[in-house]
Amino acid sequence: MALEQLSDVVQRCQAIQDDNYTTEDYSVFQIAGRSCIEDGESAQVLSIVVDEENKNIVRCMGWNLLGPLVQILLKKEENNLPHCLAILTHLLEVCSPKELLVGLLEQVEEAHPDSIAETVILLLQPLQKVLLRLGGRKASSVGMALSTLLGQVARLPVPQTKEQEEDDVFSLCRCCSALLVFVRPFVEEAKQCRTPMPKKDELRTELLKLVCVCVCCHPSSMKSLCEPLLEVQLKDPETLAESPLRNFATEILGILSDIGESLPDLLSHSLLRRREVPGFLEEEVCYPKESLASLAYLLFVQHIAMDTFPTVFSSVFVLQCNMEYINLFLSRTEESRLQKGLDLYEKSLVRVEDNSLPVQLMELKSFFSVPQNLVKVMTLCPIQHLRIKGLQVLQLSIDKFDTEAKYKFFQCMLKTSHHAGVEGYIIKNIKNQIDFALKPEKGNEWFMGAHLFPLLRQVLCLPQGPETDLLQNLDRVMESLNLLRYLLIRDKAWKNQTGIWTELYKIEDNYLKPLRTGLNMSKAHYEAELQNTKDNSKKTNAKESQTQESVCSLTVGNEKMPNMTPEMQLQVLHSALHTFDMMESVLARIEEIIEVKEKP
């Protein structure tokens, strides 16, 4: 039935001149054609389609058969396959490339979720053929095709483990390899162009977009549901010798140099943004910072395409370039981003020699922001291994600064971190630096003598005087006391290398006395509380189930927390008193040392 209809419409249209077919003609052709193909009469359809008499009809209407053809081809039924393939091949050659492109991309977009990979792999070659027919105006069509294809491929689950990658159950790896083959002729064509980016040549721009999207989801170019292909942890050659994803990554980065982008220029882009370039906004779109950051990560942490990066740049310069990206990663909250930031920072730092980063670097914005972000990770991030790593990397960075830079850094951190734990850690570092400086022939002007004092003043102070909450500032106070005790023991009064003995009276007035007062007040207060609580609990025991009046209640996640039992309260108070005892013992020891030294 359908076959007859098809033959009829085709016969009728043969007589029509100048392609003046009616909408009904199109409609009948499409519906009849589809039915024939679906019913397995593809051989007959083929003969109609290749018939010279029907040349014009097919040229205008043929592309409408793409839908049913693709569906049949996806089913892979033996008998229909060769004919359908032949029809497809013919259509690809005679129909308008623009219409074919639309039809094919429609098929890609409408692919059934279970057959995304199959559809993509089937249609890549036809798409390539069609695009190559577009000649010099192909760039935006190539871009559109890439965007549609990637949009679908990105929906496939990305293999996380080595086994998953080998098995490639969802065919993501196959798709990636096929994509590389697809894109090759366009890359070759783009290679020929000599004008510097990001000027005119649109094909190179589209390819650059492809790379950027593969390495990292840039908000403006991809729908939010995508998971960038190269965000996954790539397996190194020791883990998986032949890793399709790693190969894909290497090839994708290879496209960059093929289109004339130099890796060093790209990476230093954020650092050395040439503001005089007109159309500055274009630049930002062409080289989105997130993509550059991911690129830096792939290069320096995963070592993808690292052998194409010139072994000529100084490690300090590389660190400077990467700081921008590290800062970007560390400003985020997602675990994967923070991990990348920490890894990139670590890898950039290990290339640099200890004690070599000069103080001028401290003036750069990124060298201020990164530590601030690092502190946020260390103190606020809910993920423990990231907090631990954050601290490790912080220490690594401190080790790389030269002496003056360390000094400035410690000052800055003490002023800005507002966290007792961090301050305590920094103070410990200061102690280590002083210790180092006191070693024979290791002296320096920053951790001894005149410069040391402003720093010590920052360390040996109570932010709210005697009213400072000693429990909250425990870490800081203990480290400060340890430092002071260390100085008084290590630096003999007659040598006074650090100058501590000359300044001691000031320290006593500004620090030790208020601390002593604060300690006494705190102890008295807590001892009173302790007594109160003991008395209250005695009363409650006497009156059995009398609920205690609590000062405030605590609700966590919509659940009201039970009141602390008297035993718990006592425990807390004892613990506080114990802490004060600890502080007091160090303080007493310090006072002892001072007394002994001051005796004639």
């Binding site: 650092l271 690292m306 052998d307 000529v312 740049f313 100084s314 640099v352 003036e363 914005k365």
Partner: protein, 220 residues
């Protein structure tokens, strides 16, 4: 220390177009305490502030200043140092940091092909080079010279600004002694290359002396 300032402009004058944003900003910057400026986002280059602040905001800030009397000098010293530090950071950051160091040159140059002996690069000039780098034992670890002559036509030499610490010191110092067209062999001691660490995870071992054959193709 700060004398009581008097209001120069009335509300009408402030709103009028005769009074430019820059004038108001300049007045506030000259006379307000640093923390005031920080809070009202009025720090930094006047042109930039003018771009981001609306006239209404400036009028509000002006009035606020006289109400709160937070004039320059009314805040303690600590704030000033904070402001100085902040200003430094807000300023356009320096591009690259140069490391100044004393000591004898840690590289040795032998000329393989003479250059034009007139075009010598200066610090900050853009230079382009073909190069091949090898270790003392002869292993080539890097080159940007493609295998065939045809490919060389398609590739570009390495381009960078010399003398600014972006490349290893041996290169910075060595290239400054070369003239356009010169090909030289640079033997660089590890201190002016990748030092005690080398390049971890890469082809350069620790304490490696590097030998580069460099052709200076272009200067700026």
């Amino acid at each position: 220390m700060a004398a009581e300032l008097t209001r120069e402009w009335s509300d009408e004058q402030l709103k009028s177009d005769d009074l430019s944003k820059k004038d108001v900003i300049k007045f506030i910057q000259d006379n307000a305490a640093h923390s005031f400026l920080a809070e009202h986002k009025l720090m930094g280059n006047i042109k930039n502030v003018a771009k981001t602040a609306k006239k209404e905001q400036l009028i509000i800030a002006y009035n606020d200043l006289f109400e709160s009397k937070r004039f320059l000098g009314s805040e303690p010293i600590e704030d000033v140092t904070e402001h100085v530090k902040n200003v430094k950071i807000d300023d356009k950051p320096k591009e690259v940091v140069e490391v100044v160091d004393e000591g004898p040159p840690k590289f040795f140059k032998s000329v393989l092909k003479k250059g034009d002996k007139t075009n010598f690069p200066k610090k900050g000039d853009n230079v382009s080079c073909w190069y091949t780098g090898s270790l003392e034992d002869g292993t080539v670890f890097d080159t940007n010279i493609p295998a065939t002559a045809r490919k060389k036509k398609q590739s570009k030499p390495l381009s960078f600004k010399v003398g600014l610490g972006r490349v290893i010191r041996g290169w910075d110092e060595g290239i400054l002694t070369m003239s356009k067209g010169e090909t030289a062999k640079l033997e660089i001691e590890p201190e002016w290359a990748y030092g005690k660490k080398g390049l971890p995870d890469s082809k350069i071992p620790p304490n490696a002396k590097l030998i580069f054959e460099v052709e200076l193709v272009a200067v700026d």
